[in-house]
Symmetry: C2
Subunit: 118 residues, 2 copies
């Protein structure tokens, strides 16, 4: 049971984990459909390699849909799948709790803390 819970949780975390996954998801959740280049502009720090890799994983998990237009120059659009929309509550829960957690850490360690563990 505990073991089962853990498999489930890790399966869920697989999707959220990665330096860019949450950002990408927030972008797509907020803006609906976005082109590859739009995503890149929205996240100036990300490299094409990373963006592609993370999108592929999200696509594999059926969270993100990839629509290819057969034209020149190439055009590819990404959007959250219907199934992906179901994880909105999880994202909200994480963002909510994370928000209160940031405040909690500030109370404990003060505003001047580095945020890093030694």
């Amino acid at each position: 049971m505990t073991d089962e819970c853990n498999r489930s949780t890790e399966s869920a975390l697989e999707i959220l984990v990665g330096k860019w996954k949450p950002v990408i998801l927030f972008q797509l959740f907020n803006n609906g459909t976005m082109r590859f280049s739009e995503l890149q502009r929205a996240m100036p720090q990300i490299t094409k390699k990373m963006l592609t890799a993370q999108l592929r994983e999200l696509e594999y998990h059926d969270i993100v849909h990839r629509k290819i237009y057969m034209e020149v120059p190439p055009k590819v659009e990404y959007s959250i799948t219907e199934y992906g929309l179901q994880m909105a509550p999880v994202m909200m829960a994480l963002a909510d709790w994370g928000d209160s957690h940031i405040k909690h850490l500030d109370e404990i360690y003060g505003e001047e803390r580095t945020g890093k563990l030694n």
Copy 2:
């Protein structure tokens, strides 16, 4: 706003992420107070180094409490803090969605899939 959500989410993920964090949390949530050796027995694969490291991080985040008994041989007990209990809903949400997600992947790729992306 999106940016703020993202900081919050990543702050939350910081806590859950790590190969052993979820397991440790499930153990402590289910069993209440546990000694170091009990945790080890519950997770035969984990090394002492990893167990210590993950517990320290959880302690830093005020999710886990560490109680040291000054006796010989040493005795240290770990438990979820009051604040830590507040993240129970998040854990539940993750486990729930992860569970349904596993089933969803099975539907898409079939039971025989490896679970790995290429």
